[in-house]
Structure formats: structure tokens, C-alpha cells
Symmetry: C2
DNA sequence: CTACAATAGTTTCATTTGTAACCATTTGCA
DNA sequence: TGCAAATGGTTACAAATGAAACTATTGTAG
């Protein structure tokens, strides 16, 4: 047994994960950043506003739904509102809350970026065969579930 | 077909990957940050210095081996040297290059952190069954290989 | 030999991000 | 009621990160 047992970074799973994850996320992010001057957090906010487009979400709800912290959300919203992509009103009955909705312009951008993101996801998954794709989906679901359970 | 087809973030693979990856990396990083005041880049530098402990690496070599950029490496090295964890000499015959090595103190820290990191990796993988672990290893290798090929 | 390009590494400056403190409002309950 | 704790959100400050410019040295084409 060697005295020092160094880690082989390229076989270390957390490291591998971070490379794969950063690469694919960065590929997608670059495209909508260049085309719409949109940051990652901003895009995620838009995505949840699009999906839960019922009565308008609060910033807190957006934070929960994106698993990001409220300061990041606050900053993203400031830009989105300033750029006319999100409409912000005050909740009647609770003046602390904001009521958030995509604007028409926000929807227009969403309807370009969402398919584009899906396209990137597809291209990414196509580097795997069908079995591997299924396995990856299973694994990620399981990890996310057990992770949520732990916290 | 709905007019707007919003993304379901929690089923979007790049998003899932980023959550899983950040969670596990952050868990490990927190521990060595708290115990040794060591940043992620610093630890990665130490890991490659430990592994390729032949004639001493240059900063450029460290950058290549960690897949990080030379500015980040330069900063990490400045701290590591200041804290007595890495020894820096000048290459004889090429005064531009530095020759980097872990100090005794650096090795001491390495020999605590490396097993600790492996322990976290093990705990992470144990959330999967044996088949899933094999599948994940296969998938990551494949993605990293095709990724490298693409660039 | 000289001059220009390339390489190793650092510094600078702008942007991003994270943490803590903060303000306003609402809720819980003595 | 009335006041402390909790909640929604923003601001302020510090640390981390990235891009570009810079210094020093070495390689190389004429």
C-alpha cells in the first residue's frame, strides 16, 4: 500500500460530474446569452414563470421552484423587469409580495429559448445509446430524490 | 399542441446534472474549506501535484491537468505557497517556469483530504445500487470521451 | 546577432456570486 | 390590542471568477 494515495482526478466521480455538467450548461447558456443577453438565473426564472403561469408567482416561489437563493432571484428579476421581460405587480392583501408574470416580450423570448434548450438536451443525450439514456434518467431521478430526502 | 411549451426544469437533464453535481461537490468542498481553509482550485492543484510528483510540475502543466485556466492556477498557487503548502522553485534552464511540489505540510493535508474526498464519493455512490453505479461510470466515461472528441 | 513571435506566469479591472444585514409588512399569541 | 417573531424582498459589502493587458524570458527566422 503506497504511503500517499493520490486521487486520480479524471476518475473521481464528483469531478467528472462537474465537467460534464458545466460543459453542457455552458453550451446552452452561451447561446441564449449571446442571442438575448440573458443570464442563466434569468433564464431559469423565465422558465418557471412560463410553466407556473397561473395567478403569478412570488419571488419566494420562484426561488423554491428553481432551487436558487432569493438574492440571486431578486437580482435576476431586477434585470428582467428593467428589460421588459417580466411584469411585477404588488400582491393585493400582502404588500410584501410581488406578483410576477412574463410580459409579451418575455413569452416571445421564452418561445425561442425553450425549444433551443430542448434541442441541446437532445443533442447531449444522443451521445448515449438508448439503454444509457434510460439509465441516466433513472440515476438522476434517484439521486435527486435521495438528495432531497437527506436535506 | 400547446402554444407555449414550457420546460419542466426538474426533468431537464442539464438542470438535474447541475443540481447533483453542485450538491456533491459543495459537500466535499465545505469540509476541506472548514478544516483547512482550502479552496476548490487549491485542492485540485494539490491533488495533481500529489499524483504527478515526479520532477515537479510547472503551473502550465497543472492548468492542463486540472482543466482550469492559468489565472485561477496562479492565484491558487499564490495562496498555497504563502501558506507553506507548496514549494515553488525556478526551473534551471528556463527561468520562466516554476517547479512545483507539495511541502511536507502539503502532503500532510493531502493525506487527510484525499481519503475524505474518496469517502464522500463512496457515500454518494452508495445511494445507487451496483448496476446503477456501473452504468453511471460507463456513462460518464463516454460523455467525457465524446466531449473531449468534440472540442 | 537582431528582432519578432511565442510561452510562462502575474497583475489589473470588471462582473458575478455569496453572506449578512437590513427595511417593510404581516403573523402569532400573551 | 400590542409587540416579538417570522416573512418577502432588497441593499451593501466581501470574496471568487473571468478577460485582457502586462512582464520576463525563451525560441526562431532572417
Amino acid at each position: 500500500m503506497p504511503r500517499h494515495a493520490p486521487i486520480e482526478l479524471e476518475k473521481f466521480v464528483p469531478y467528472q460530474l462537474s465537467i460534464v455538467s458545466n460543459t453542457v450548461s455552458e453550451d446552452i447558456a452561451r447561446e441564449y446569452r449571446e442571442r438575448f443577453d440573458l443570464g442563466t438565473t434569468e433564464w431559469r426564472v423565465m422558465a418557471v414563470l412560463a410553466r407556473y403561469d397561473g395567478d403569478g408567482l412570488s419571488a419566494r416561489a420562484v426561488a423554491r421552484l428553481t432551487a436558487m437563493d432569493k438574492v440571486a432571484i431578486s437580482r435576476a428579476l431586477a434585470r428582467l423587469v428593467a428589460n421588459g421581460r417580466v411584469l411585477r405587480r404588488t400582491h393585493r392583501g400582502d404588500k410584501r409580495r410581488s406578483v410576477l408574470r412574463l410580459s409579451a416580450e418575455g413569452w416571445r423570448i421564452h418561445d425561442v429559448v425553450a425549444p433551443l434548450a430542448r434541442q441541446h438536451e437532445r443533442a447531449f443525450l444522443e451521445r448515449l445509446d438508448a439503454d444509457e439514456q434510460r439509465a441516466l434518467a433513472r440515476i438522476l431521478d434517484k439521486l435527486l430524490a435521495t438528495d432531497a430526502a437527506v436535506r
